[in-house]
Symmetry: D2
Subunit: 284 residues, 4 copies
C-alpha cells in the first residue's frame, strides 16, 4: 500500500467529479482508483480517491492546504490518509477466542495492516492467546458495581496506548454511553446474529427457539443504541433442525471471524464512510 486516500462527502451537485479529479490531475497525481456513490433520497455524494504517493512532490501540509481551498467553496467534508499512518488497535474480548485468534493471525501475516499493542478482557481466559502473539494482555474484571471504574481503567489504557480503533471481538459487556462519549473514536463490534434479528443477548438460543434455517453475524460500529449502529458487513451460514443452540454457536464461529476481519480490514483501508447511521463501503 503506497496510496494516499481521500474520503469525501458533500451534498451532490453537478461538476463534483470533474472538479475533484481535475484538481488531482493538475497537482500531478495519478489517480490509482476512484469510486463514487450518490445517495439519491438524501442527495448526498460520497467519493474515495486513491493517489500514488510517489506523485506527492511537496509536503502533505501543502496538499491539504490546497485541497482545502477546493473543498471549502464546494462544501466538501473530507479526510486524507497517508500510507505511513498505521492504526493502533485494541482488541476487547471475554472468553470466546475465535475472533481474537483470527485477528491476531491475520495481523501477524500482514493481511490486516495495523498495530495491536493491547488486548483487554473482563476474564483471564484468553491471556495465553495474547501471549502466543506477544501482545500485552490486561485482565480487567467487571461487575455491576465496578463498571464505571473498570471502564475508566480501559479508557486510560486506550489513551496511554494511543489507540485509534477498538475492536469488540466477542466482548460480552455493553460499553456505557459515558465511555463511548469519552473515547470518541471508532469502535467495531461483532454481533453474533443477522441484525436486526436477535438484537441483544443470547442470539443463538433465540435463533434456535425461533427455528430459523440460516444464522448470521453482523459487524457494526458501536453507538449508544445497542446493536443499532451502522452495519459494515454481514454474512450467514445455513443450519437445520439438527442444530441445537450449541451447534449454531459453533457453526457461527467462522462466520463471526470472517465478517469481523472483513469489516476491520475495510475500515483500516479507509473504505468506509458513515452517513445517516448507515455505511458506504467502497470496493476499491
Amino acid at each position: 500500500m503506497s496510496e494516499i486516500v481521500f474520503l469525501i462527502q458533500s451534498e451532490d451537485s453537478k461538476g463534483l467529479l470533474a472538479g475533484i479529479s481535475s484538481f488531482f490531475y493538475e497537482q500531478g497525481f495519478n489517480i490509482l482508483s476512484c469510486e463514487q456513490h450518490t445517495d439519491l433520497p438524501t442527495n448526498r455524494y460520497f467519493m474515495r480517491v486513491a493517489l500514488d504517493v510517489e506523485d506527492l512532490s511537496y509536503s502533505s501540509e501543502a496538499l491539504e492546504r490546497q485541497f482545502a481551498e477546493l473543498a471549502e467553496p464546494l462544501g466538501l467534508e473530507w479526510s486524507v490518509h497517508y500510507p505511513n499512518e498505521v492504526a493502533r488497535v485494541a482488541v476487547l474480548v471475554s472468553k470466546a477466542s475465535h475472533c481474537l485468534y483470527d485477528i491476531l493471525a491475520k495481523q501477524s501475516e500482514g493481511v490486516i495492516e495495523c498495530e495491536i499493542p493491547l488486548v483487554i478482557s473482563n476474564h483471564p481466559d484468553l491471556e495465553s492467546v495474547a501471549q502466543r502473539f506477544d501482545i500485552p494482555f490486561r485482565h480487567l474484571p467487571v461487575s455491576r458495581e465496578t463498571k464505571a471504574e473498570q471502564e475508566a481503567e480501559i479508557l486510560n489504557l486506550l489513551r496511554e496506548n494511543a489507540i485509534d480503533l477498538v475492536v469488540l471481538a466477542r466482548y460480552m459487556q455493553i460499553l456505557s454511553p459515558a465511555f463511548l462519549r469519552a473515547f470518541d473514536k471508532p469502535i467495531i463490534n461483532i454481533h453474533h446474529a443477522f441484525l436486526p434479528a436477535f438484537q441483544g443477548a443470547n442470539p443463538y438460543r433465540r435463533a434456535y427457539d425461533r427455528g430459523v434455517k440460516i444464522i448470521g453475524a453482523t459487524a457494526h460500529y458501536v453507538t449508544e443504541d445497542l446493536d443499532e449502529g451502522p452495519i459494515i458487513d454481514q454474512d450467514v451460514a445455513r443450519v437445520s433442525h439438527r442444530c441445537g443452540p450449541e451447534d449454531m454457536k459453533r457453526m457461527g464461529r467462522d462466520v463471526e471471524s470472517v465478517v469481523l476481519s472483513r469489516a476491520l480490514k475495510a475500515h483500516l483501508e479507509r473504505k468506509v464512510i458513515v452517513f445517516a447511521n448507515k455505511t458506504v463501503v467502497f470496493s476499491v
Copy 2:
C-alpha cells in the same frame, strides 16, 4: 415417485428405529430411504420412511390397520401418503407476478408435483398470467369493510375445489384468525425478509433504512401470529449501499421465488413435520 411415505413422531425411547424398521421388513417392504431426528431438549423423535409401493402386497387399509397396531402401544403420531395422492393447491396473489410465474412454470414442467386448479387475487393484474397456464383466475377485491365477506368467498372456492394446500405467493393481505380456523389446512406464505427481522409491512424499505448488507426471504406456515409461523426455508442475497429500496425489491424477487418453491416442493414431497412452532425438514 412411486413411494409410500410414513411421517412419524413420538416421544423418544429405545428401540423405535428397530421396531419400526423391523415392522416394514416383516411386511415385505424395501425401505427406499429412512431419516430420523431426535430433538434432545424435548426428547421428541421424528422419522420419515419411504417404501417401495411395488412391495405393497395387500390393501392400503390393511397396511394402515397393521401399522396402527404397532403405533398405538408406542404412542406414535403418524400419517401415510401414497404415490397416487396429488395435492390440490390454490395460489393466492396480489400484484407481484414472479412467485406465481415460478410456481406455474415449475408445476407445468413437473418439477413441483401438484394440481393447481385455482388462482385467487385481490387485484385483477395477474389474470393474464394464470390464463397463460390455463388456470382459472378469480378476482376477489377486498377492503376493510368487505374482508369477512371476501374471505368467506375464498373459503367457498377452496372447498369447492377440494384444495389441500394454500400458497400465499405475495398475497399482500393478512388472513383473519377466523379464516385460518375455518380452513384448517396448511397455508404456506413467503415473507420478503429474513425473519424474524422485518416482520410486517414494507420489509425492503425497512431493510434499506437499517442499512443491512444482506436481504432475505422466508417461507413459513401461516399461523394466527403474523409472520411467526414455523419456518420451512430461508435464503439471502447480498446488497450494498448502492441498492435503494426498489433495487432490493427487484433483487429479492429471485430469492423469494426460489425459497417459496423449495418450501412448496418439500411440503408436497412429505418432507416436513411441524413441531413446537418449528419444522423438521428431511433431506431425503
Copy 3:
C-alpha cells in the same frame, strides 16, 4: 431508465478521469453514475458513465461528434447508448424450459428491458411456452447433415427480425464458426457447470461422477472456442452424496435461470465490457 451511457476503454494514462468528466460537465451534463477500472497487468482503463438524458440540449449526433474530438487524441475506444434504444433479443432453446420461462416472465414484468420477437428451437416441445407469452416460435430441426442449412435459416430469421442479441437458453447445439462470423453480434450462453470445470457435454453427469459437493452455472459470451468465451456471471448450489445426476440437473435449474437472467440484464443495461477474453462487469 433515462440514462445516456458511455462505455469507454483505452490505455491507462494520467488525466483520463479528469478529462472525460470535465468534458461532460462542460457540456452541461449531470453525471448520474461513473465507474472506472484499471487492469494493471495490461495497463488498460475502463469506464462507464451514465448521464441524465434531460441534460442533452442538442442532437445526439452533435454529442457524438464532440466526444469524438475528445476521444481521438486520447485514443479512447467508446460506444454510446441512448434510453430509447431497446435491444431486440432472440432466444434459442431445445427442450428444457426453465431458462425460457424465467426470461419471458422477467421480460413481461419489465425486469429485463428488451423486445423478444422470436424464439427458435431445434425441437417442437417449447412452442406452447412461447405461445403463452404471445411470442412467435420457429421450430428448426437440425441433424448433422442439415446443420449448415438450419443455421442459414436461423441467420435469416435473426436478420429479418433485426436481432441485436442472441440468448442460448439451454440450446443444446454448438453454433458453427461460420455462423458466429456471419452473425457478428453478441451471443450469451448459459453453461450448466462452473466453468472451466466440466466444459462440453453432460456436465451434471460428470459432476456426479467426480463427486463434487457444489455445482454451478456460467453465463458467457459465445466464441469459436466452445465454453471458453468471456464469463459474465457464475453461481453455485450445494449438493451432497444424496444427489444423483438427475437431482443435480433439477437443483441446477434455478442457478442456471438466475445466472443467465443476471448476465442478460447486465448486458442490456450496458454494464459489460469485453477485453482479453474477460469481462468488466460494472456494478452501477
Copy 4:
C-alpha cells in the same frame, strides 16, 4: 462426545436397517443417531450409527465379536470407533500460515478434537506459529534430488509419533506414490481451487487468466492421482474483475481455512466413508 460410532457399508438388500438396528436394540443400546444412504447406480448401502457409550455393558471386544457375527452373513464392511480414541494428526505446511493457524486455534479451543504432536514443513517460516501453540516443528527442506530422502524422514517422524492422519495445510509439494503406499493412512489436502477446475499449480493465477467470477477451495483425500482424490468438502467466494491474482489469493484464504477445517472435523468425527473415489459425508 461419548458416542460409539459404527461406519458400515455393503451391497444394498432388504432388511439391513431392521437387522442392524434390532441388533443394537437387543444389545441394550440407545441409538443416538443413525443415518443411511443408498447409492442407487452401484446398489451400495452406507450407514453411520452412533450409540451411547453408557449402554456398553460388556467389553468392546465382546461388542465387536457379536457384531462380526451379524456382519459376516450380511457381507457388511464395518469399523467401530470409541470415544476414548483421539486421533493423532500431523500437519504439513510450506509457507502460507492461514490454514495452520486455523487448525491450531480450533484444536486448542476443542472445536477440532485431536492431538497434534507434530508440524512438518519444507520451509522454516512457520516455526514460530507452531511454537506459539507449543507444538514441535520439524523443518525438512526438499529438492528434486533429496525428495526420496526427505519423504523417508517424514515417514519416520509419522511413525515415531504414531500419526493416524496427515493434513496437508497448503504443503506445496507432491507426495510420491511410494510415500503414499508406505504411509497407508488417510491424508487430507486442501486445494486452492474449485476442483476439478484448475487442478495442479497456480490455480489463482489461472482463475484470474480465465476471468472467473467465483473462486473456490476443495478438501480431498490424497491419492496417487494429483488433485483427483475423493472430495470431502468445497466452498466458494465471489470475485470480480477488480481482483488480481494476489487479491484472489488473499480472498481465498478464508475459504481454504474453513473448508479444510470442516473436512478435518467431519473426518475426525467419523462422518466420512469413501467409496468409488467419492465420499459419503453424514450430517449427524
